[in-house]
Amino acid sequence: MARQISFADAINEAIKEAMRNDENVILLGEDVAGGADLDHLGDEDAWGGVMGVTKGLVQEFGRDRILDTPIAEAGYVGAAVSAAATGMRPIAELMFNDFIGSCLDEVMNQGAKLRYMFGGHAKIPLVIRTMHGAGFRAAAQHSQTLYGMFTAIPGVKVVVPSSPADAKGLLISAIEDDDMVVFFEDKTLYNVKGEVPEGHYTIPIGKADIKRSGDDLTIVAIGKQVNTALTAAEQLEQKGIEAEVVDPRSLSPLDENTILKSVQKTSRLLIVDEANPRCNAATDISALVADKGFDYLDAPIKMVTAPHSPVPFSPALEDLYLPSPEKILAVVSELIDDESIVTI
């Protein structure tokens, strides 16, 4: 069997590959190495990131290229923007996407707009890696899914991988891309293992992937919800319903063609997005299909999302907050007239 590694290790490998290829690639963030200036640690890192994703990088690349920062997101994300504008190719780690509140100006008004405002006389080859997602019992300020917010900003590319192999190939592409990319890593995926090719390879940003093909309905799912959708699809298969699961992999740019073609084939669309329901990726994709694929549809477009509330701490509530295979089946039963679906 081919080599299986975790989502976290796939990201670690991607950073290594990119850093070996280009000495202008640097990584900066809080405790990305950890233990800075502590003699007793030698060249060891204390943490390698809060989840250990960047462990070991400082040994190979040294503290000039793996920079621990003060807890000052505006400071280092802003610095990464202009380091990028002046010839570096930085990767800034925003530990949790929730902390964007501390550095939104740097992303939204600086990084995203410099090129346009300068009439094309600048490029910002910056990647902001950030952790998102509920299900970790991390409560309202450490569990949000905010890719919709970034998708709304012109000048920002948004990538949301769902598997270890995609994570590695997409991250290498993001680092080598000349635009600013916000790269979302779901914290509950880090330990998930999958087949991952060795060495350097890229997956184009803006190309969706059909994770499962089927003729009866299209499920577009984002990030770890791709796995929820695949579980639901397996259960639907037992009922003779073949769902096609489309993983956009990037929300900006969005592979409109692959989504529209799938809906043309199946005539039914369900979107699964764990973000809050208003102004998110699901509503955006829904608008796309209502606009450009209305004639393909035999049923209303449906969505399974989180409710319009912050992420609750209590496990009893957080489990209800997230999309689930059961919720998907319940909605599919509205799309396809078959009462037995929900009782699988």
Partner: protein, 336 residues
């Protein structure tokens, strides 16, 4: 610059015993959470305050319910010192319906507004502007109250530190900024991340008093806080107190703590321990007897055991709680 010398009220025996009790409550509570967390029954992650008790208690001993505090991710100690109920806190940490926040917030967001406790906070640096705003509110509403902002050494590099303190200073707000310099922000040493020699030095930039005290010496914290609180209550504006301290556990439970040395850990757990030192202070100054302190120890042990049992036996929140408390008068998704 030192906070202006004000008449020092001497510590009464009653107050001293209350302080000792709160410190022991914090220690026992955190040791219990540490123990239970390792069995897997506590969801999420927790940041324990054990080792830093002298700071929360030394400061909060000058406050009452009309005074506000803002806290951090490491908030259990501040909650206890400000009078939050141990049962309600423990139930919150378990995510139960009987928790102080109905299980919606958890360890990092415990709050009790009725006690002036404006919440632990998951965002580093979140407290500075909040404390400044609470101070503004107390000043304009003429409540006589003050606001205390507890923050870590890591937070002192966040932009909100500078914005919050500057605002409090230009408006002479009744705010006390209390740095808990425990040497590390996560695994990163204070000395690496901060260009200042001490956090107190930064007060000069805002033209307010700033001083550094041994944050494991309860009386030193108590006295510095007394000066700062008086100054605030007298309308003379904010102060900054840096308390040099240490966290006995890791950044969060599960942290291997390789950045600490064995030597420093042992020193802090033993001869530098704040509770041992305060206990000796009480005994040698005849503020309490060995028997009295022993019975406080026993009562606290029982109170924490009761809190744990209460949390364990409490129910989880009902499903309909998921979308309540988002707004006052708008229920997302409509009435069901």
């Amino acid at each position: 610059m030192r906070v202006s010398e004000v008449q020092q009220e001497s510590l009464t025996a009653e107050k001293a015993k209350w302080m000792y009790q709160k410190m022991v409550e914090i220690r026992r509570f955190e040791d219990q959470v540490h123990e239970t967390f390792s069995t897997g029954t506590i969801p999420g992650f927790v940041h324990l305050y054990a080792g830093e008790e002298a700071v929360a208690v030394g400061v909060c001993s000058h406050l009452d319910d009309k005074d506000y505090i803002t806290s951090t991710h490491r908030g259990h100690g501040h909650c206890i010192a400000k009078g939050c109920d141990l049962k309600g806190m423990m139930a919150e940490i378990y995510g139960k319906a009987t928790g102080l926040c109905k299980g919606k917030g958890g360890s990092m967001h415990i709050a009790d507004v009725s006690k002036g406790m404006l919440g632990a906070n998951g965002i580093v640096g979140g407290g500075f502007p909040l404390a400044t705003g609470a101070g503004l509110s107390a000043k304009l509403r003429k409540t006589g109250g003050v606001a205390v902002c507890f923050f870590g050494d890591g937070a002192n590099n966040h932009g909100t530190f500078h914005e919050g303190i500057n605002q409090a200073a230009i408006w002479d707000l009744p705010v006390i900024f209390v740095a808990e310099n425990n040497g590390y922000g996560e695994s990163t040493p204070f000395e690496y991340a901060s260009s200042c020699k001490s956090i107190a030095d930064r007060a000069a930039g805002y033209n307010i008093p700033g001083e550094t005290v041994d944050g494991k010496d309860t009386m030193a914290v108590y006295e510095a806080a007394q000066r700062a609180v008086e100054r605030a209550r007298n309308g003379e504006g904010p102060s900054l107190i840096e308390c040099v301290t240490y966290r006995n556990y890791g950044h969060f439970e599960g942290d291997a703590q390789t950045y600490k040395t064995q030597e420093e850990r042992e020193q802090h757990l033993n001869e530098l321990d704040a509770i041992i030192r305060f206990r000796e202070h009480l005994l040698s100054n005849n503020l309490a007897t060995e028997d009295e302190l022993h019975s406080i120890d026993e009562n606290v042990r029982q109170a924490v055991a009761d809190a744990k049992e209460f949390a364990e036996k409490s129910p989880m929140p009902e499903a309909n709680q998921l979308t309540t408390d988002v707004y006052v008068n708008y229920k997302p998704g409509g009435e069901e």
